[in-house]
């Protein structure tokens, strides 16, 4: 879990330049949190969201805790829904990524707006773009996670000397 979060953070720092409406087009940390929540449940999702969000906040110049809170809520909700419903198919997963991005954006932007610490120029466009980006990256991540063990096994089998 921590490895996934660290990996996502590292990748996010490289994709940070892609910005739409003042917000990154893809939030790979959120994608990682949603993946963890869907595979491991609400507690893991919540803790992953909390740790990842706090780290993200600490690395950014914002208020520490806002991103952590938003990702905590998103991770918890996704994990809770994933426990109640079957979300292994592509479309439900896509919906979960979109919904998680929306929830995260509402919490994140809402808190900043409430604190009066930051103004978001065009939040709807930014959220819509990020939702799409997160959903695509999430589907890719799930494909990699589910396909990687089979590929590795096949390679191991083919390399074994006869």
């Amino acid at each position: 879990m921590l490895v996934a979060v660290a990996l996502a953070l590292a990748m996010q720092t490289t994709l940070d330049r892609i910005v739409v409406g003042g917000t990154a087009a893809v939030d790979l940390v959120l994608v990682a949190v949603v993946c963890i929540a869907l595979t491991m449940g609400p507690v893991a999702g919540m803790l992953a969201g909390s740790v990842a969000g706090l780290l993200q906040d600490a690395l950014s110049s914002g208020v520490i805790g806002v991103g952590g809170l938003a990702k905590t809520v998103a991770g918890f909700l996704v994990g809770a829904i994933g426990q109640q419903f079957i979300v292994t198919a592509a479309v439900p997963r896509l919906v979960m990524f979109v919904a998680a991005t929306a929830v995260h954006a509402v919490c994140f932007m809402g808190l900043y707006q409430l604190l009066g610490a930051r103004i978001f120029a065009s939040p709807l466009a930014a959220v819509a773009t990020q939702s799409l980006g997160n959903a695509v990256m999430g589907m890719v991540a799930f494909s990699v996670m589910e396909g990687l063990p089979g590929v590795l096994e096949r390679r191991r089998v083919t390399r074994r000397p006869r």
């Binding site: 507690v43 909390s50 520490i64 808190l111």
Partner: protein, 279 residues
């Protein structure tokens, strides 16, 4: 095992994590006044607790003081009740004295106005039998009271003395069935005989059918009966019933409230001179 417990209490865990992050946010954010939000929130919460504690303490103190005050109020209430009782009794005495004073003043006025010799007397008892309308006064033969002396009050004629004793006398009221007094209508001088009915009204008899009398006319003593001096008010005509006969039935309401008499004057037969027994 602990992890299992945590997993079973997801809601609490979620709340704790969210609260922790809110505290973290509050520690960094300052309000418009420049005070850190965490300080504001903590101070606000502590202040509310202090307010609650203070209100509990103040409430308890007030309740205790109220209880003590109630105890004092109770004692004071009893003392005031007793005082009020005494004052009420005193007030009644004062009222009785004032009423008596007014009655005596009225009698005195009457005595001053009338040229007749009179003996003031106090009513000491009412009638012993409902069939005979009498009362007892505190003056008797020892004070010059004799039989057939007229008894008057400031409002009008009361009756006559029928049984004098040494220190008291029985007075027959005008409303007694056996009482009668010669009267005349003050306005028209129409004469008649006013007799008692045993009730609270008088009847004027032998009034000619042609006499000019009206309801509201005042009836006074004519003086021809030799007992009641002339000109004392007997009562007021309450109804006039002209029948087919020679006389008119006239009902008279007595001028004196006979059931509330306290003091009277006994008129001496020596008209024009003050009686020797007068006080």
């Amino acid at each position: 095992m602990a992890l299992l417990d945590i997993r079973q209490r997801i809601g609490w865990l979620f709340t704790a994590v969210v609260l922790a992050q809110l505290v973290l946010i509050s520690a960094q954010v300052t309000t418009r006044t420049g005070v850190p939000m965490l300080e504001v929130v903590v101070f606000g919460a502590v202040a509310e607790m202090q307010r609650l504690a203070t209100s509990v303490i103040v409430g308890s103190r007030d309740a205790w003081q109220t209880y003590l005050s109630l105890q004092q109020v109770r004692a004071e209430n009893e003392r005031l009740r007793a005082q009020m009782g005494d004052l009420q009794i005193q007030l009644q005495r004062e009222r009785a004295l004032a009423q008596e004073s007014r009655t005596l003043q009225a009698l005195l006025d009457l005595r001053e106005q009338t040229p007749l010799a009179t003996i003031p007397a106090v009513v000491i008892a009412g009638g012993a039998s409902p069939d005979f309308r009498t009362l007892t006064i505190d003056k008797g033969t020892g004070q010059g009271v004799e039989s057939d002396m007229a008894v008057v009050a400031p409002a009008g004629v009361v009756g006559r003395v029928i049984t004098p004793t040494g220190r008291a006398a029985k007075v027959q009221l005008l409303i007694d069935r056996n009482a009668a007094v010669a009267g005349l209508v003050e306005r028209t001088r129409a004469q008649g005989l006013v007799v008692g009915t045993g009730g609270d009204r008088l009847r004027m008899e032998y009034v000619p059918g042609t006499a000019d009398i009206r309801v509201g006319d005042q009836v006074v003593t004519s003086g021809i009966d030799g007992i009641y001096p002339k000109g004392f008010l007997i009562g007021q005509i309450e109804s006039v019933q002209r029948g087919a006969g020679d006389y008119t039935n006239v009902v008279v309401r007595p001028a004196v409230e006979l059931s509330a008499l306290e003091a009277v004057l006994v008129v001496s037969p020596a008209h024009g001179a003050r009686g020797e027994g007068q006080e």
